[in-house]
């Protein structure tokens, strides 16, 4: 036992959390005693003896887990362990619960953790739909309901969609660019372990006095600054999830810029890499804004500052400006990696080069630039400067243009293709086009000020975000998971169950979210536990489809778990894809390549006789003269 507590690992991590928590608690008690204040401050929003340990216990956990061991030794001048990266690879299930620096292990850790929170968040949605099935209050009271939808959204956004894209890219991206790992493997490990802490803070808020945070995932002040203790858990959870995002984004940027294989210039990058490059540019610049604004709310709550207290000279609307300056780019953080996945899936399963590859890459960059200029379209009725509405409307509508380019280019890719409709990932990619364009159209309508004034904060908005986040992001996530499942696990999944999963998901999502458009337009506001009886029938229908949608995800869970354990062995390249990750074994060896591959052409040269994307070790002899590189910009 004592030995286990000395080694980095879970036992030492829990000890660290205990020590960290005790230290934080003692600090508050002692300081308050010295200052002559009552020992515990449990009125209103304070609770310092809970908030401070909620910061120090996770830090203790991370230290105990061994994440900082190398850095501490190095900083102290002590000998660092010579065999660094010894933690590479995972040989047993237990290895996934340790601090690991292997990008492939971290990728799996990310994906599995995010899916756990996906199912928790989904269960919360099921309770909400049970309550909303009929007008009136039956299942949960309004206070609990507010906590349910707030936590549902926070988990799905911060702990599922954003990090799972980081997880998929973590696994695939270094392989795609021909790198042995990410640029900063230890930072990569830290990024992952910050994530479950954020998720746990969100979930534990249900068990604190006053219940879970209930001001929505948007946490508008002053509702949030005056809310019970749970709100502080939201403020802190966002910090951990945000720090995780920023660190990963930096890691991707440096990896993509400096670690591309010889010959991999920017115009030979697979679009998934372009997509993560764009996403990372958004994350590093935008995420600090939400971290900052949640600290401001926490300070208003715990330290008596007046950032958002009108009575104390604060400005209520400024919260929304800072919040959306992150949270609008965030919707592209939740969508661009999905665009990347769709490009890989469609090109591979339609056996064609991506139509207009360069314009596709430039469209991503166009979205990055424009997405910083549209945030106030969330605030058309908020009472902000009214002149700001028209320019923000124009930029908002213009962002449909690069998005449209991507849609039309995918459709162009399908033209003249050999379309493999039976692979589940392709079904999700095509389903994505149908649902996402719908979400894009309702998005354009929401961008128009007069229409937005009417439907803002109604179920129309709920329908829109679920069309772009579920029909958009989640569909791309499923496409990506099915596409790379053989690569990650070395096993094949059950394609029949996959198709069943797709069809039930597609039907469930359409039935649940489509009618929300019109009940919103007719007058049902969002975030309500109860509603006028006139919307009763539609809501019952929506709830039924929502339960179908929920049940369909259990098929996915079963398929993934059973196939991972007992599925038939996968070959290195079951889809006959051209990108580099498919040219190594499934799963790839530790450090990915015996010898770094040499890139000689574009990533999607399907149907081009003799064309190659990359030459792997030992293949030199068979290769014909590579086609000349197109435009420069890469290093070699």
């Amino acid at each position: 036992m004592a030995a286990a507590l000395k080694q980095p690992g879970q036992p030492r991590a829990f000890l660290g959390a205990l020590i960290g928590g005790a230290f934080g608690f003692a600090l508050v008690v002692v300081l308050r005693e010295i200052s002559g204040l009552p020992t515990f401050q449990t009125e209103a929003t304070g609770y310092p003896h809970v908030i401070v340990p909620a910061i120090t216990a996770p830090l203790g956990y991370l230290v105990g887990l061994g994440i900082f061991d190398y850095w501490f030794r190095w900083a102290a001048g002590a000998p660092t362990r010579p065999e660094e990266h010894s933690q590479h690879g995972a040989r047993s299930l237990g290895d996934y619960f340790k601090f690991n620096t292997d990008h492939k292990v971290i990728g799996i850790q990310y994906i599995v953790t995010s899916f756990i929170f996906f199912f928790i968040g989904g269960a919360l949605a099921m309770v909400m739909r049970a309550e909303l099935a009929q007008p009136g209050t039956q299942v949960v009271d309004p206070g609990v309901f507010n906590g349910l939808f707030s936590t549902h959204a926070a988990l799905m956004i911060f702990i599922f969609v954003i990090p799972i894209f980081a997880g998929i890219a973590n696994y695939v991206l270094p392989l795609m660019i021909g790198a042995p790992d990410m640029a900063f493997p230890r930072l990569n490990g830290l990024s992952f372990w910050l994530l479950p802490i954020g998720g746990l803070l969100f979930v534990t808020s249900f068990f604190v006095p006053g219940g879970a945070f209930d001001a929505g995932w948007t946490g508008y002040a002053p509702l949030s600054t005056g809310a019970p203790l749970g709100q502080s858990f939201f403020n802190l959870g966002v910090q951990f999830a945000g720090a995780s995002s920023v660190a990963t984004a930096l890691n991707f940027l440096v990896t993509i810029v400096t670690m591309r294989a010889p010959g991999m210039n920017f115009w030979r990058l697979p679009l998934l890499v372009w997509a993560n490059l764009s996403t990372s540019l958004l994350v590093v610049a935008a995420t600090p804004f939400i971290a900052g604004v949640q600290f401001m709310v926490l300070f208003d709550r715990a330290l008596g500052t007046n950032f958002f207290q009108a009575a104390g000279g604060g400005d209520v609307v400024s919260y929304q400006h800072i919040f959306w300056f992150y949270s609008h780019p965030a919707v592209y953080i939740m969508m661009l990696p999905g665009f990347g996945i769709i490009s890989e899936v469609i090109s591979t399963h339609a056996r064609k080069p991506i139509f207009g590859y360069r314009l596709m890459a430039l469209a991503l960059i166009g979205i990055v630039v424009l997405s910083y200029t549209v945030w106030a379209h969330h605030m058309f009725v908020s009472g902000m400067f009214s002149w700001l509405r028209v320019p923000m409307m124009i930029t908002t509508l213009l962002i449909a243009v690069p998005t449209g380019i991507k849609i039309f280019s995918w459709l162009g890719t399908l033209f003249g293709s050999v379309l493999h409709l039976y692979s589940t990932s392709m079904l999700f990619a095509l389903g994505f086009i149908v649902t996402f364009v719908m979400g894009g159209i309702s998005g354009v309508m929401l961008g128009m000020v007069p229409l937005d004034i009417h439907v803002s904060d109604t179920y129309f908005v709920v329908a829109h975000i679920h069309y772009v986040l579920f029909g958009g992001s989640v569909f791309t996530i499923f496409a990506g998971i099915y596409h790379w499942f053989p690569k990650m696990t070395g096993r094949m999944y059950d394609e029949k169950l996959g198709r069943l999963h797709f069809w039930l998901t597609f039907i469930g999502m359409s039935g649940a979210f489509l009618p929300m458009h019109w009940i919103g337009m007719e007058g049902m506001p969002r975030r309500v536990a109860d509603y006028s009886a006139q919307f009763g029938d539609w809501n019952l229908l929506i709830s039924c489809f929502a339960f179908l949608l929920g049940a369909a995800q259990l098929i996915f869970l079963y398929n993934m778990v059973v196939s991972w354990r007992w599925g038939p062995r996968a070959t290195a390249n079951p889809w006959r894809a051209k990108t580099i990750e498919w040219q190594v074994s499934s799963p790839p060896p530790i450090y990915n390549f015996d010898e770094i591959p040499r890139v000689v052409g574009g990533p999607y040269e399907y149907g081009v006789p003799g064309a190659r994307h990359a030459i792997m070790a030992g293949e030199e002899a068979e290769v014909k003269a590579p086609e000349p590189a197109t435009v420069g910009g890469g290093r070699s």
């Binding site: 309004p142 206070g143 507010n146 006053g210 929505g216 508008y220 002053p222 005056g226 809310a227 019970p228 009108a310 009575a311 400005d315 209520v316 609307v317 056996r351 064609k352 080069p353 139509f355 207009g356 590859y357 314009l359 009725v381 509405r389 028209v390 509508l397 243009v401 449209g404 380019i405 280019s409 459709l411 162009g412 399908l414 033209f415 293709s417 050999v418 379309l419 409709l421 086009i433 149908v434 364009v437 159209i441 354009v444 128009m448 000020v449 007069p450 229409l451 004034i453 009417h454 904060d457 109604t458 337009m521 007719e522 506001p525 969002r526 975030r527 309500v528 109860d530 006959r576 149907g607």
Partner: protein
């Protein structure tokens, strides 16, 4: 493609998606929506036809391991699907801008109403007429300007049939105009999450002919001295004042109290919990709601700022009104 566009458009335009239109602004907004439905139907039809055609035409047979044609792009097409959507959205933006200016133009003879929102009730003050009410009455075919203010957190004023909405923000006055052109009863719906009573934060709206509106104003004007708006003929002046406070302060937004015609259930039912309590206890529960809680109701549901919002005299009137109406006159 054009056929599908036409079919989608025709079917979609059959419905009044936004429900009943009850203001001149609503007609403008609904026209914009219809135009957008047709344009969207065109775009969606292109996508569906291209997708459907590809699936029908290029679907691979099992075991087919060939590749598609190596088409890398087509500059003309790419320019087309960059430029055409740009033109469409810029047209949409210009048209929206035009409509926005139109629906926000202020008439010279508009009626002014000051609206105060608080957890979880609305209060309407007619500064020119000197009337305060918990119902919004407006004359038909005359523009009304609603000047919004919030006491505690952000609320949002929405009458779906008017298609107008604006947040009521603490410390930041906002305003919105509407020109109701259809008589009838509607509801103000709060659309900004404002706490546990958000879903029931509503207020009645009555759009009526000018004469009826004037009569209502007169009725209300008489209430400050004696008599009440909502019946209960035998009430004393003091009771009427208490009743008015009960409405104005938003008590009726959360509590049930038969005497005031209130039947909300966010807070305790006053007819049940008050009969056993002394005046001092009731007074204390208004000023410091967290001190003593009724079973089933948590701390923090009721705002704790009534001690500041009410003068001592008003508090006395409210307490004696509550005592009288739940425990009988002493």
């Amino acid at each position: 493609m054009l056929l599908l566009t036409a079919v989608i458009s025709v079917v979609m335009l059959q419905f009044d998606w936004n429900g009943v239109a009850g203001s001149t602004e609503a007609d403008d907004v609904d026209l914009l929506l219809d135009v957008m439905i047709v344009l969207s139907a065109f775009v969606y039809a292109i996508v569906l036809v291209m997708l459907g055609y590809s699936i029908w035409r290029y679907r691979a047979k099992p075991g087919d391991e060939s590749d598609g044609e190596p088409i890398h792009g087509n500059t003309k097409l790419e320019v087309a699907w960059t430029v055409i959507p740009t033109v469409i959205v810029l047209f949409g933006a210009a048209y929206s801008w035009f409509i926005l200016d139109k629906i926000e133009a202020r008439d010279a003879n508009r009626l002014q109403v000051d609206v105060t929102a608080q957890q979880f009730a609305w209060r309407f003050e007619y500064p020119e007429q000197g009337v305060t009410s918990t119902e919004l009455h407006v004359p038909v075919d005359r523009q009304v300007e609603l000047n919004l203010d919030a006491i505690d957190v952000i609320h949002s004023f929405w009458v779906p049939e008017w298609r107008v909405k604006k947040d009521a923000v603490p410390g930041k006055p906002t305003s919105v105009v509407a020109t109701p052109d259809r008589e009838g009863s509607y509801e103000v719906v709060c659309t900004e999450l404002c706490g546990v009573g958000h879903s029931t934060m509503r207020a009645p709206v009555v759009v009526e002919p000018q004469e009826e509106f004037d009569a209502w104003i007169e009725d209300q004007g008489g209430t400050t001295g004696g008599g009440t708006a909502g019946g209960g003929g035998g009430e004393t002046a003091l009771a009427a004042e208490g009743r008015q406070l009960f409405d104005e302060q938003g008590c009726s937004g959360c509590h049930t109290l038969k005497a005031a015609g209130a039947n909300e259930t966010i807070g305790p039912n006053l007819d049940e919990v008050l009969p056993q309590r002394s005046e001092a206890e009731i007074r204390n529960s208004i000023v410091d709601p967290g001190a003593e809680l009724s079973p089933g109701f948590g701390d923090g549901i009721m705002p704790d700022n009534f001690g500041d919002a009410l003068s001592d005299e008003q508090l006395d009137i409210l307490v004696s009104y509550l005592v009288d109406s739940t425990q009988g006159k002493k």
